[in-house]
């Protein structure tokens, strides 16, 4: 068998690149009818595109991710952290860069190089803020499609991603089924549950209640860091699990032996969440969080059944699916992955499914885990390249 993940190495140095299109008057038409242009997409690639251009794998990132999925930027200090899925992308890893040409692009609406609410609106010369049109997961895919056209890639060996990235995987399959040979939606859902929407709404309200948010117009002033930090704290609770939090923190106190009987940090879990919150505001834009969480709340592949861009309308296409869930994920629990599997089976699709036993909650897909690499690597090897 050739699914070994031994001798795996770093993806090495990688450079963030940019592609700009949809210059006015040829703006990109969005799903809600609005027009947007120009649109810039930030992306990174690893490995070599084969001569027959048949080995491209698109990685779609989760809501707070970016194009930097693996490796290091040139000139980074030695203690710098590699990209967010470095455990999966590199020579000999699950997404083996000796075999595949791996692409990851920052999503539309993001804040890590692709056009989003913090980008300059050419009409006003100022950041869009809330004048940025409400984009959808479908719009994200249209932007990625334009990037692939630009790179001369007409077919994908696979499209893979977790969480909101998993929704993008599904959207790729229903929009461009003939382009996609295999699809790996991980820790994801066909639509948000009320629970998932509820947490997103609390996160949004935390931002919008911060006076610094100023109806999204804060790019010339102090940003709503407090609201954004609280939003991130809530997010982190949903990414963990009861088990993971018990193991990681329990009721242990942070640098003290007794309660303070006040409202400063007593428990380690409080300290952790505050740290995650304050770290996040340095790299993320509050308006991007609003837009992306709303786009993921709107996403609904179930409601679309039997209409254009649905799992039922791709019946003729030959997409091989691998659905993966994690046992302790309570944001997108296994039952939702099973609903997806059921829908795919009923639509006559070729689908594999595996729940991975892990106590780390939703975050598990981002943590180094040899099982995921083996599953994905073997699945990709078993997908014919034609």
């Amino acid at each position: 068998m050739n699914n070994t993940v031994n001798q795996s190495g770093s993806a090495g140095l990688v450079e963030k690149k940019y592609f700009t299109f949809a210059e006015p008057p040829d703006e990109l038409a969005l799903e809600n009818g609005a027009r947007l242009g120009p649109v810039t997409v930030a992306y990174e690639t690893w490995g070599q595109l084969s001569a027959s251009r048949d080995n491209a794998v698109l990685v779609t990132h989760a809501f707070s991710g970016d194009s930097h999925a693996a490796g290091y930027y040139p000139g980074e200090p030695p203690e710098a952290k590699p990209g967010w899925w470095d455990s999966m992308i590199g020579p000999g890893k699950g997404l083996d860069t000796d075999k595949y040409f791996v692409i990851c692009a920052n999503i539309l609406g993001g804040c890590m190089g692709s056009t989003g609410p913090s980008s300059i609106n050419p009409a006003t010369g100022k950041p869009y803020g809330l004048s940025f049109p409400m984009m959808t997961v479908g719009d994200m895919i249209e932007v990625q499609k334009k990037l692939l056209d630009h790179l001369g890639i007409a077919s994908l060996h696979s499209v893979i991603g977790g969480s909101v990235g998993g929704m993008q995987v599904l959207e790729w399959c229903v929009r461009y089924p003939a382009m996609v040979r295999s699809a790996i939606p991980i820790a994801t859902t066909m639509r948000h549950s009320a629970l998932a929407i509820a947490f997103n709404e609390v996160a949004r309200q935390a931002i919008m209640a911060d006076p610094c948010w100023n109806h999204g117009d804060y790019y010339d002033s102090e940003p709503p860091d407090l609201g954004l930090a609280i939003a991130r704290m809530i997010g982190h609770v949903t990414y963990l699990s009861d088990e993971a939090m018990r193991r990681k923190f329990g009721r242990r106190l942070q640098n003290k032996d007794n309660f303070s009987y006040g409202f400063e940090v007593d428990f380690q879990v409080e300290s952790y969440l505050r740290y995650q919150g304050s770290k996040f505001v340095k790299r993320f834009d509050a308006n991007s969080l609003l837009y992306i969480t709303k786009a993921s709340d709107y996403y609904d592949l179930v409601e679309r059944s039997n209409r254009p861009y649905s799992l039922q309308t791709i019946s003729g296409a030959k997409v091989k699916f691998l659905v993966i869930s994690y046992s302790s994920d309570w944001l997108y629990p296994t039952y939702q992955a099973k609903e997806l599997v059921q829908a795919l089976k009923r639509a006559g699709q070729n689908v594999s499914f595996c729940e991975i036993e892990a106590d780390c909650g939703h975050d598990a897909f981002l943590l180094p885990d040899e099982r995921l690499g083996k599953l994905v690597g073997g699945f990709l090897d078993g997908t014919p390249r034609n």
């Binding site: 068998m1 699914n3 091989k320 691998l322 099973k338 599997v341 059921q342 089976k345 009923r346 006559g348 070729n350 689908v351 594999s352 499914f353 595996c354 729940e355 991975i356 036993e357 099982r371 083996k374 599953l375 690597g377 073997g378 699945f379 090897d381 078993g382 997908t383």
Partner: protein, 210 residues
């Protein structure tokens, strides 16, 4: 994928695989590590799907390039449209199923044909144990005690024949085999099968109403 020699497979699986037409769609229920599916894909170019409850085994199958769903076969079979497969295989599992009739109806619905293999409970050694010892029989094929056995259904070749007849299934082929539990070897027998066979294999087709 490394092609397997047939010698690496259990004898009943070898018999089953020899009956599968090339290029067909096959569903293997309880596919374990996927040896049968891998062999069928490599040698008969089938389009194979497996269902396996055990997470590690399912992951192993997917990691070797097979299409496998991790889950409970009794539930998973419900989601497939009618006649999704040319063959549905249920090997050495029927005796562990809580609702065999319900499962068999599903197999007949989703497959044009289904193939079951099960240990024959009317083997002479089992009959003799009950007769002479008066204790629940154990054998190399069924090595458990009454209180810890996963094999909750007692089936004989004759029983299965009768079941098929009663529900109106056509037995395309009935194969009785004697196997050696220590190795993967075995042979097909034709005489006194209900007495001598360690396993029975039935290929079943749902009768089309005239």
């Amino acid at each position: 994928m490394v092609p397997l020699g047939t010698d690496d497979m259990r004898f009943d699986l070898r018999v089953i695989s020899s009956r599968i037409e090339p290029g067909t769609r096959v569903l293997d229920l309880g596919c374990g590590n996927g040896d049968l599916l891998a062999w069928l894909e490599a040698n008969k170019q089938v389009s194979g799907t497996g269902i396996e409850q055990d997470k590690e085994k399912a992951a192993h199958c997917i990691g070797r390039g097979l299409s496998v769903l991790q889950g409970d076969m009794n539930e998973e079979v419900d989601d497939y449209p009618d006649k999704s497969f040319d063959y549905v295989i249920l090997s050495q599992t029927l005796q562990q199923v809580y609702e065999p009739a319900r499962l068999l109806y599903s197999l007949a619905r989703i497959g044009k044909r289904f193939i079951v293999s099960f240990p024959n409970f009317s083997h002479y050694s089992i009959r003799l144990q009950l007769l002479l010892k008066g204790a629940a029989p154990k054998s190399d094929e069924l090595p458990y005690n009454w209180y810890d056995s996963p094999n909750i259904r007692v089936i004989t070749l004759k029983d299965f024949r009768k079941f098929s007849h009663d529900v109106g299934y056509r037995i395309v082929e009935e194969i009785a085999i004697i196997t050696d539990y220590k190795s993967n070897e075995g042979r097909v027998i034709n005489r006194l099968t209900n007495w001598r066979a360690t396993y029975g294999i039935f290929i079943i087709e749902k009768q089309t109403t005239p």
